[in-house]
């Protein structure tokens, strides 16, 4: 790997603003948060995947993958970031390197021609060029090609140097953030910068979640100036340095970018979440408070409080109708992220019982919050191998599994209702209206009459009375982590 990239990665992995990192001792801090992967027992995407996830939602950019077919051929058109404008981002562009290109050392030339062709055909706002394992291994200098292309073709061409083998998706997110800071942010100026302009970092507008929150911001007169990167235009990224406050949504990976914006341009940031009622309210409150601190009109705060009061009341009223259908049901939570506590507390409020939750990616602070919400730590577990989880579900010790896509089939094959709460889900659950959507999904899934039919015996099976399920005790610490966030 090129020395420069190595140094950059070392820097990125030592993020001073990250609590998890600060809590580590000197030795493990230097190792960064990479972990050695186990051959035959690894799951999850590569750095290229992570970089693409973070940047692809920029809708008017042509995302060009410099690679043989696999990286883009198997990976394009597979995520649900919604756009209200250009559709260029959904088109899969790749140099589709062939054996001949590689043997002849034609990679850089082919890349340059591909950049020229994509600009001529699509006139995108910019071209993002992604390095991958093979193009990095053969030593293609994408930074030099991008620089030359920008100068000669007059369209910004941005190198995203995150070849897959350097690490995980999470590292790819970071490298993507670093590329934006180095090459894009600060290159354009807004016509009318305002005192209520904000950045939202880390929301990718999956299934339109950003739009579930935007009406709230609209009503408060808050404008999303910089978006990284849900439903973003290239210009919105280029102008992000003029925002007054940054909200970092559910993303430790992009914290470095938020901090750089703070250090470089004096834009304060805070971490918040739009999942759950209390977290949504808290995020709005903090946002308004910070804007006012930076000179926005002081009446923003009372207006915000009025909005929250009104929305919360309306939401609880709507949720109450679900109570008879969900109360007493047992939920098993298996997610990567830990921004869902606000959701959990709302479920409990509606009478549901959380019988277990994974803490495999949680910080100590997160774990503290589990204890706070669930009373003790007996419901926490680390990883669970699919077979283990299948057995647990098969014994009907939970009424519904809420998890990401990887455990989907574990639940379904065990004939247990499943609600998708990870990034690839197809329904938006953000903000107040998202919480109602989530409850609707849980209700619809859990109370589907199909489950009883499927669990019943076939005509040729003798109907035996199933023994009462044993009380839930979760084994913890299985090495095979298969739910990657």
């Amino acid at each position: 790997m090129a020395e420069a990239l190595k140094t950059q990665i070392a820097g990125l992995l030592n993020e001073p603003a990250c609590d998890t990192n600060r809590a580590k001792d000197e030795g493990s801090r230097r190792k960064g948060c990479t972990k050695q992967l186990t051959p035959g027992a690894a799951a999850g995407g590569c750095a290229f995947d992570g970089a693409k996830i973070a940047l692809q939602p920029i809708v008017d950019v042509a995302h060009l993958v410099h690679a043989p077919l696999a990286c883009e051929g198997n990976g394009w058109d597979n995520r649900g970031s919604a756009s209200s404008g250009s559709e260029i981002y959904r088109t899969g562009f790749t140099t589709d390197l062939t054996e001949l290109d590689i043997v002849m050392g034609n990679g850089e030339k082919k890349l340059y021609r591909a950049i020229r062709e994509v600009i001529a055909e699509q006139a995108p706002a910019a071209v993002f060029v992604y390095a991958t394992c093979v193009s990095a291994l053969i030593g293609d200098d994408i930074e030099a090609v991008c620089k030359a292309a920008t100068e000669r073709l007059g369209t910004p061409v941005i190198p995203i140097n995150a070849p897959g083998y350097v690490g995980s998706k999470n590292l790819g997110n970071k490298l993507a953030g670093a590329a934006l800071y180095a090459h894009v942010i600060g290159t354009m100026e807004p016509a009318e910068p305002g005192l209520c302009d904000i950045n939202i970092i880390g929301d990718f507008n999956l299934s339109g979640e950003l739009w579930q929150v935007k009406p709230l911001l609209d009503r408060l007169g808050i404008r999303i100036l910089g978006s990284i990167s849900g439903d973003a235009r290239y210009a919105q990224v280029a102008m992000a340095h003029r925002a007054r406050v940054t909200m970092l949504v559910c993303s430790k990976a992009l914290i470095g970018l938020a901090r750089q914006l703070e250090d470089g341009y004096g834009i304060p940031f805070f971490e918040g979440s739009f999942y759950g009622i209390s977290d949504t309210s808290a995020a709005l409150r903090t946002l308004c408070m910070k804007l006012v601190e930076r000179g926005a009109p002081a009446d923003l705060i009372p207006r915000c409080e009025a909005l929250i009061a009104q929305e919360e009341a309306a939401t609880w009223a709507a949720l109450a109708s679900f109570r008879p259908r969900v109360a007493g049901k047992r939920v098993l939570l298996y997610t990567g992220g830990h921004k869902s506590w606000s959701v959990v507390s709302a479920l409990q409020e509606l009478g549901m019982e959380v019988v277990g939750t994974s803490v495999r990616k949680a910080t100590e602070e997160d774990k503290g919050r589990v204890v706070e919400i669930m009373g003790d730590d007996s419901h926490m577990f680390d990883n669970m191998a699919p077979r283990e989880m299948y057995a647990l579900l098969r014994e009907a010790r939970a009424d519904v599994l809420m998890s990401g896509g990887r455990s989907q089939f574990v639940a379904l094959k065990a004939r247990v209702p499943w609600v998708d709460v990870n990034q690839e889900k197809h329904e938006p659950y953000a903000g107040y209206m998202g919480m109602i959507g989530l409850l609707r999904a849980i209700d619809r899934e859990m109370n589907n009459p199909m489950w009883a039919d499927l669990r019943g015996p076939a005509p040729w099976e003798v109907a035996v009375q199933a023994p009462a399920p044993a009380p839930l005790r979760l084994a913890s610490g299985s090495p095979a982590d298969f739910e990657d966030c």
Binding site: G45, P68, C71, N78, D96, E99, R113
Partner: protein
């Protein structure tokens, strides 16, 4: 014979091709108790797995040797050994099928040699059959990767010295273009003649989508290893798809006479297969097959009104493109644009079109627009092109992630061909063309005659 066009350009827009390692993995999933293993960086595996899961809607036990920056430079032999060790511990597979990726092949590692040495050393791995296929992403596509995997299985697991012939036993080599339902349909046809097929690979029992009684960390069914070991004792090999010819020849070297069927879709294609089965078995065709043929003949009569003259834009791997393309032209359709993925299979040049582009969905979209196609026939990624061109889109190939039951589509045999003709005809009927005066060069009715009030709401 079509003219094969290699577009001269650097940019590929909206890939049609799926990578070769993924094809190999899919083939491996048709072996009982299998775990496919990618030799490369973990990201490739994650993408391929998501791809397979979206298509089959099943959990897919795909694993990776997880090459990192160090092993990418120094070589990854140890990673394979460690991976096999871990997989054996965790999931006890009967079979591990390794597919290499571009990363490994760019370095030019001698993986096969290292693997041989390692397996000789590790006697404790004996309970798991390990097979390796070289499938760099930069050469060929899904169909080629699948074929290389089947060849690797035969090379490793079918003894060179076969035992005595087993009466009535035939090898059925299933091409990558066959869905699980199609594999089953073909095997049933063979059984209908009193023959016993060994199907390799057999997705019809592993990826057919069934709810079983336990959780498994390996494939849920597929060809049994004991059956594979007996393939040299068959009286014939029936290979479906031209891409399977090298595999059939490998079995020929073990004394089994091969027959390759380029297609099993269309009256003539199925006739050829049935004739071969009659000869092999010495039996007349069973009544069900005769009835299916009569019903297909009738379906041709009904559907040729829609399909005759239909202008089709076709994008598929060579074997699938040939099978579906010839079935449609047999009813008078015209393939006005044909795009395929790989020139390694000679059948690519026989796809019934004036020219066949080795290209992407960008080519298909452009071609369909210029040639004024009536219908797009390609996999699910063609949906955006179809939307933009306002054309009906029939999904065929891999992946089909935006429709349920991709594994149940059956377009082979007499009955499957009938279903395919109805499917195409119905797609045409669902997009009725309403004539407008402009179509004929006539001026529209003058606006002053139009009723002035706003049109009534449609809701």
């Amino acid at each position: 014979m079509a003219h094969l066009v290699h577009p001269q350009r650097a940019l590929s827009t909206n890939p049609l091709k799926t990578s070769a390692p993924l094809g190999a993995a899919m083939a491996y999933l048709g072996i009982e108790g299998a775990i496919p293993l990618f030799h490369g960086a973990q990201g490739c595996t994650a993408f391929a797995m998501v791809h397979l899961v979206r298509h089959f809607r099943e959990s897919i036990p795909l694993q990776t040797t997880a090459m990192n920056e160090v092993s990418a430079i120094l070589g990854g032999g140890e990673q394979i050994e460690e991976a096999i060790e871990n997989l054996r511990k965790r999931a006890k597979p009967k079979f591990i099928g390794i597919a290499s990726t571009a990363l490994v092949e760019t370095r030019g590692e001698d993986v096969a040699g290292e693997l041989r040495e390692m397996l000789a050393r590790r006697a404790d791995f004996a309970g798991t059959a390990v097979v390796y296929a070289a499938t760099p992403d930069f050469a060929g596509g899904l169909e080629d990767g699948w074929a290389r995997a089947v060849e690797a299985i035969i090379a490793a697991l079918v003894p060179a010295q076969a035992g005595p012939k087993i009466a009535g036993q035939v090898n059925l080599l299933a091409g990558s273009h066959l869905t699980p339902a199609e594999v089953e349909a073909v095997a049933d046809m063979v059984r209908g003649f009193g023959l016993t097929p060994i199907v390799l690979p057999d997705l019809s029992t592993s990826l057919d989508g069934h709810l079983s009684d336990d959780w498994s960390g390996t494939s849920l069914g597929g060809t049994r290893l004991a059956e594979i070991a007996r393939m040299g004792q068959s009286i014939a090999t029936l290979a479906i798809g031209t891409a399977m010819r090298p595999a059939a020849e490998a079995l020929a070297n073990r004394g089994v006479p091969p027959q390759v069927f380029a297609s099993l879709t269309g009256l003539k294609a199925v006739d050829a297969f049935v004739t071969a089965l009659m000869q092999l078995s010495g039996r007349d065709a069973p009544a069900t097959i005769k009835r299916d043929r009569a019903r297909l003949a009738d379906a041709c009569l009904d559907a040729h009104f829609q399909i005759g003259g239909l202008r089709v834009a076709l994008g598929a791997d060579p074997d699938l493109g040939f099978a579906l393309g010839t079935a449609l032209t047999a009813l008078g359709a015209e393939i006005v644009t044909a795009v395929t993925t790989s020139g390694l299979n000679p059948i690519a040049a026989d796809i019934p079109a004036a020219e066949v582009i080795l290209g992407d969905l960008g080519d298909l979209e452009r071609g369909a627009a210029t040639a004024k196609a009536h219908l797009i026939l390609t996999h699910a990624h063609g949906r955006m092109a179809a939307e933009r061109l306002h054309l009906p889109h029939v999904r065929a190939g891999f992946p089909v992630f935006d429709r349920l039951g991709a594994q149940d589509q059956c377009r082979v045999g007499y009955a499957g061909t009938r279903a395919f003709y109805y499917e195409i005809a119905n797609a045409v009927l669902a997009h009725p063309h309403r004539p407008r005066p402009e179509d004929f060069g006539a001026t529209p009715v003058a606006q002053e005659f139009d009723h002035a009030s706003p049109p009534p709401s449609t809701h």
